[in-house]
């Protein structure tokens, strides 16, 4: 009986637990993922459906080997859920494994959210449409490469709790040999995704075959750009001074590497602003909290002592004690007196050897 109950309990717990693990309607954050997250969850046909979205992927049809290129993905016509969240994949295959562009020689310099992931989550601000761009270094291997885009999202009217999935056909990009002495970014250089609020320290750019470097910057959403100050600190290493940003501001910058007749204009990159580094510790917080408690208590107690009334303590009223003492003395005194028949109205005090008038029978019959 007990074992049956145990088994039933375990089954019930497992059934209840499954409901909390079927989906992530709020997204799971930017990360590196294969197509439909490696075929799990949303890859299951019973849990997914085809999105009505129109997806376009754009990039230059040719790119020089190892140079920066921009790939743009535009999605429109989606029916999104309440949170307007869309997950966008940039893929180099749709096998369900090894789909990351880096598995096929690409290197992500910057994703649409400022990081270096091939999967990003974006909130559609208007018309259920989005446009996002990745900046990548083209593969070193020459030849034709394919790039795919895929999306998944929820829907407001979604009673089956399905994920809506859309994908594109492969976009062919021809990787051509880089011209001799072509100025470009050094392989492995990645754009910083953010700076600390108020930090104006320069960013370091590493290049190849570059004689001069110019950088333009603008704040996100602005169209007018400004030229940044650039200083060469070592061979093919440049220090670029961009103004400090505050709050949620994103700054965008475009690098133009030049050598002789070549001008390599790298797509716009962006950099966010993060909160200042906080150096508080748990122990410090506890100590500071307790010290504040004690200092305030000590200060307030001192004030209470300062303001306390300076009157004297009420004088002791010992009337009762005195009366009791007198009463006790009197009873001792009167009890030792001896009445005398010979001298009515008088009592004999054997200690003092004297006659005392009896208050209850005064001499001469007086009361």
């Amino acid at each position: 009986m007990r074992s049956r109950f145990l088994v039933l309990s375990v089954i019930l717990v497992l059934l209840l637990a499954s409901s909390s693990g079927v989906a992530n309607p709020g997204g799971k954050g930017d990360s590196n993922r294969d197509f439909t997250c490696g075929g799990s969850c949303h890859g299951d046909p019973s849990l997914s459906s085809v999105s009505s979205a129109d997806i376009r992927i754009d990039a230059a049809s040719t790119a020089f080997s190892g140079t920066a290129t921009e790939i743009s993905i535009s999605v429109s016509g989606m029916e999104l859920s309440e949170n307007n969240l869309v997950g966008v994949f940039l893929l180099s295959s749709k096998n369900g494994n090894d789909d990351h562009p880096e598995d096929h020689g690409w290197q992500i310099i910057q994703d649409p959210n400022g990081g270096t992931s091939n999967y990003v989550e974006v909130i559609s601000e208007n018309d259920n449409s989005i446009t996002v761009s990745w900046v990548l270094l083209a593969p070193i291997d020459e030849g034709t490469k394919q790039i795919f885009a895929s999306i998944h999202h929820g829907s407001f009217y979604n009673h089956d709790n399905k994920a809506y999935i859309g994908e594109t056909d492969g976009l062919l990009v021809s990787i051509e040999p880089v011209p001799e002495n072509y100025p470009r970014l050094k392989e492995g250089w990645v754009s910083p995704d953010e700076r600390i609020s108020g930090d104006s320290s320069p960013i370091i750019v590493r290049t190849v075959n570059t004689d001069s470097l110019s950088v333009f910057w603008r704040l996100s959403g602005e169209s007018q750009s400004h030229e940044a100050s650039v200083e060469m600190i070592e061979d093919q290493e440049w220090e670029v001074s961009l103004p400090a940003t505050l709050g949620d501001t994103r700054i965008e910058y475009q690098i133009i590497a030049s050598k002789d007749d070549f001008n390599n204009q790298i797509p716009w990159l962006s950099m966010g602003t993060s909160d200042p580094y906080f150096d508080g510790t748990s122990l410090g917080a506890k100590l500071q909290s307790l010290s504040f408690t004690l200092i305030i208590l000590g200060f307030m107690l001192s004030l209470q002592a300062w303001f306390s009334p300076k009157g004297v303590r009420k004088l002791a009223d010992n009337t009762n004690e005195v009366e009791e003492m007198i009463s006790d003395d009197n009873s001792d005194y009167w009890s030792r007196l001896i009445p005398s028949d010979e001298n009515p109205g008088w009592l004999w005090d054997p200690i003092e050897k004297e006659w005392v008038a009896d208050p209850n029978n005064l001499p001469g019959g007086k009361q």
Partner: protein
């Protein structure tokens, strides 16, 4: 999991008790000036006294449960501020209780002590309101006190070096011991002529 639930419960208790302490102390103080409240002074004083004791118990419990409710209890300025303001709230609440214990219910009859006691309760209540506002900022992203134009920015905090904090702690302990020694000679108002 249970820490979060417990934290929500204890925070409610601390906020409720702190509000009761502050409001009753304010009314007890006002009863010196408003004749309609005069007859309720004793009740208000007792209510405020009891609420202050509950507040002093609830705040450390709220700190303790809050500590285990987040992954990095002092990882950001806003969480650090919760510790700091909890300490301030405890300091003023403890001062209120100490004053009430030392001088008794007749302290409201004394001008200076009544004012001091009312200020202790009000500062304690203000610190608790700030704590509530910070909690609301963390969980909801906004608080009712955002309406005030001069409300301080909780995203920043004054972090004192640990050694200076330790020094302040020693200073605090010394000042409390010293103050209690001074107060030994002070008698309740009811025992004074």
């Amino acid at each position: 999991m249970y820490a979060i639930t417990f934290h929500h419960m204890v925070v409610g208790l601390a906020a409720g008790a702190g509000t009761l302490m502050g409001i009753c102390a304010l009314l007890a103080w006002l009863s010196r000036y408003i004749s309609n409240l005069e007859s309720s002074q004793s009740t208000l004083d007792k209510a405020s006294y009891a609420a202050s004791i509950l507040t002093l118990v609830a705040i450390p419990l709220a700190m303790f449960s809050g500590y285990y409710s987040v992954s990095e209890p002092a990882g950001s300025a806003i969480l650090y501020n919760k510790f700091v303001f909890s300490g301030i709230a405890m300091g003023f609440t403890a001062s209120y209780i100490a004053g009430r214990v030392r001088f008794g219910p007749d302290l409201w009859a004394n001008n200076a002590l009544g004012n001091l006691q009312m200020l202790s309760a009000l500062f304690g209540l203000t610190a608790i309101m700030i704590l509530g506002s910070i909690g609301s900022k963390i969980t909801l992203g906004e608080s009712t006190l955002d309406l005030l134009p001069f409300w301080p920015e909780f995203m920043n905090s004054i972090v004192i070096n640990q050694w200076i904090s330790l020094f302040l702690l020693i200073l605090g302990v010394s000042s409390v011991i010293f103050s209690f020694r001074i107060m030994k000679s002070i008698k309740p108002i009811s025992e004074l002529d």
